[in-house]
Symmetry: C2
Subunit: 148 residues, 2 copies
Amino acid sequence: MSQDEFLAAAIEEAKLGAEEGGIPIGSVLVIDGEIIGRGHNRREQRFSAILHAEMDCLENAGRLSPAEYRRSVLYSTLSPCDMCSGAALLYKIPKIIVGENVTFQGPEEYVRGRGVELEIVNHPECIALMRDFIEHYPELWNEDIGEV
Amino acid sequence: MSQDEFLAAAIEEAKLGAEEGGIPIGSVLVIDGEIIGRGHNRREQRFSAILHAEMDCLENAGRLSPAEYRRSVLYSTLSPCDMCSGAALLYKIPKIIVGENVTFQGPEEYVRGRGVELEIVNHPECIALMRDFIEHYPELWNEDIGEV
């Protein structure tokens, strides 16, 4: 599978979240060219304060060895926030492919400074999903990113 | 309740984790002088890659408003790792009381640089819990902090 196809899988997760009435952000974790975990934001679905897409994906991937994380690539449809960036740093995930950073931007410079490769795609579908969601549910979105 | 009593509640959580066969790290979230959430590391118990003590505590506290997080204090028996520090940054938790940072140290300077007040207690009981655990289960500990 190619990078485009892995990002497409993350977008599928985001759409699944939207169908469930949740925040449309999706994520996949790839090791050795294979998707090991998939997830999407479940704030609404699980009434969760921590299940952002990347966290849900990492949890669904299961307990991996340090060596596995260190050759993994994390895909997210949206620029990872402080928490999700921190999770990637904890496990020393070396590369993150970001669907878009137009509607929200996490601590990208800090993450790069810690040695992580960040590639920003700015895929029109990722941007459209978030724009549409934020327009309709601004309060839920603000809650998700800790903003008043 | 005093700061000492809140830290004691976090230590109780850490001991509960140890009794369950887990990693002895505990956390409480305090708002307006009341414990709103409690948690402990559940890597072993839930086979979880994300339920560090602070994450478990934030999840158990439920979905709070940005205003509530902004007047909260997070207690952890151990210096928060990148992921848990990131969660505190996401929700703009202004103060973290750290039981100890002798056996492990998270990104404390970065967190301080982002405006969070960090108070390090170095409580002998917190240090002893971790020393004893790391001595007996070095591999589980390394997995928890993403180290080989």
